[in-house]
Symmetry: C2
Subunit: 365 residues, 2 copies
């Protein structure tokens, strides 16, 4: 099939035909649920037919194979299997656009290109959504709502096929963002895979710590290490699939780490420049809604740890007419209360403090 | 003064006398506010008299020097100055217990011991509380509420002085926890200083990233890098003061990092054991209220980004009789809504989902 040839023609708007999902885990089943919501005809396939039937029972589509070539095949299998399954799908459905949802793009593309020359219909993708839970029962209609969905066409990809994958992402509620596969892999190494490794390195220090030392744990260590709780088998696959970008960036990390160790071993350590780069890095992360980072006021409130108190707090905040941008609960040791940090648009802090104090809350900045 | 001699005798309950705070920043002024709340006579001193007057105006005590030896002198100056100021305080007030609030304990103790033999009245301390903001205007009455306050006596410390510092921590609303200075420093290296360095290393990677790459940033990178936004000058002092414990632990980090790089550079990477240690580490952090970590159910709700919506959500949750253990707002790109993750005690998830769905919320697990 040549570029643009049989893909867009005569299919009308939307996806123009049924969608086949291969792999009915969290992501695949959620795609089915989201597209069924738009009345897209859905078919579901899994190497375990029982799993496909479960996804079908949940309303994600039919467990029967499609009678004709699907408009799109979505390969939603574990990272290690993406390449071969994409190749099988290209061969099984010679008129379908084939996409995948794997968290790494270059290596599977290379595997596909090695196995077949018929790659114009393959367009990689990666929805930035997930959950600690897995399997079809963890799936949901709105898993992708408002999330970025990277669409990563290779150079020979059919433009109509690229549009169709972007449309599928949009129908799932996501925001398609086009990137080259290598750029994508460098980006996720930077914002996901390397931070995961660093979280693991911080968490690994805690395993053998004396218990009373961990009593000094605050919110910082909890935040830094949260993602280190992720499934080791899945992360083994992700880090392996993206190993070149990850190793390149971990080598930069090691250089910085060596500088920290060198400076702190000297008689006159000077680590401000390194620390300053960290500050600048935190400021580079896009703000809420992908817009520029907004300045906020932080307001702290002591909240009794009983059902309904947090609701009462936020209802009281709402009555004050202040929009809460963010909220953080800092768990308090040894007493039935929590310290809650409310972030509000810059300048609204005082108004919120007055509104909450009037309503009897222990509040400060 | 010998152990126990002039300290406890005849002073009655509580602290038994006035308290002098030296250094009227966030911590010092908050100590003043908290102790004034219990009618402890407070005196405030700062190398900038204007700062001491500001703290006094806020109600943290008197900017006049005490007429007699204070029961406790609290040294609340930046890390670099703790040692010399403690020595001055021991000399200026020969009957007072002197404590400090610095985040590192061994090095200042060594400095004090080098400068004077009269160290039985010195008892180190470290409240685990703070803020991104600094100065007396950022202070608050309840900064220490429910926080751990490490009390770190050296071997020759007067037991009555140790008790008095613990009582001061308690009057401030904190939970005193006794540790040896070296244990404290190793503990904070582990749960605070090394995680800070790792957060900086992750954040430093973002500074020079192409902007469109950062569009893929999710909650993970935000959590890992949050603390890297801390003041570089303060952290330079903290890391320098605790450099031996930090360097020792950073060397372990480097060994693990080298193993990650080595494995991921090989043809058959095997990083599960390293990842598994990370998982175990996250499980070692004490749970809410310092008790064992509790299992929770996570429930996700799509919330319109308008004043009062979050309050309505939590009010509706409260009516369902479910206690929210934790809440996390995941910012959604390019649309006026947020995905809110509610954590509730294990087994309560279904009940909350039903309660919220009945009240019209888009909710899933």
């Amino acid at each position: 099939m040549t570029s643009g040839g049989g893909l867009g023609a005569g299919l009308g708007g939307g996806l123009g035909g049924p969608v086949l999902v291969i792999g009915c885990g969290l992501i695949g089943t959620s795609v089915g649920l989201a597209l069924r919501h738009h009345d897209v005809p859905m078919h579901l396939q899994d190497r375990d037919p029982e799993v496909a039937r479960t996804a079908a029972d949940l309303g994600a589509g039919s467990a029967e194979p499609p009678a004709q070539d699907p408009a799109v095949v979505v390969v939603a299998v574990p990272p290690d299997h993406v390449g071969p399954v994409v190749v099988e799908a290209l061969q099984a459905w010679p008129r379908a656009v084939v996409t995948d949802v794997g968290s790494v793009k270059t290596r599977p593309l290379e595997a596909v290109a090695r196995a077949t020359s018929d790659i114009s219909r393959y367009v990689g993708g990666h929805p930035m959504a997930g959950s600690e839970r897995s399997g079809p029962l963890a799936a949901s209609l709105d898993l992708f709502d408002g999330r970025v969905w990277a669409v990563t066409p290779h150079e020979a990809a059919d433009p109509a096929g690229v549009d169709r994958v972007a449309e599928l992402a949009r129908l799932c509620g996501a925001e398609p963002v086009r990137m080259q596969p290598a750029d994508h892999d460098e980006a996720v190494a930077r914002v996901s895979h390397v931070p995961h490794v660093l979280a693991v390195l911080a968490a690994a220090r805690l395993k053998c710590a004396p218990e009373d030392h961990l009593q000094l744990s605050g919110q910082g260590i909890r935040d830094v290490t949260r993602i280190a709780a992720g499934d080791p088998d899945l992360w083994q696959q992700i880090l392996t699939a993206n190993s070149s970008a990850v190793v390149r960036m971990l080598s930069d990390v090691r250089s910085d780490l060596d500088r920290f160790i060198g400076e702190l071993s000297s008689s006159t350590p000077r680590v401000q420049p390194l620390l300053q780069r960290g500050v600048a890095g935190t400021q580079a992360i896009p703000g809420k809604h992908g817009g520029p980072r907004r300045s906020v006021d932080a307001v702290f409130v002591l909240v009794p740890d009983r059902p309904g108190q947090l609701g009462r707090l936020l209802a009281d905040s709402g009555e004050g007419g202040v929009n809460i941008e963010d909220i953080r609960i800092d768990h308090v040791l040894g007493r039935p209360s929590g310290l809650v940090e409310l972030s509000v648009p810059e300048g609204d802090g005082e108004r919120l403090i007055v509104a909450l104090a009037e309503r009897g809350w222990a509040v400060h900045r």
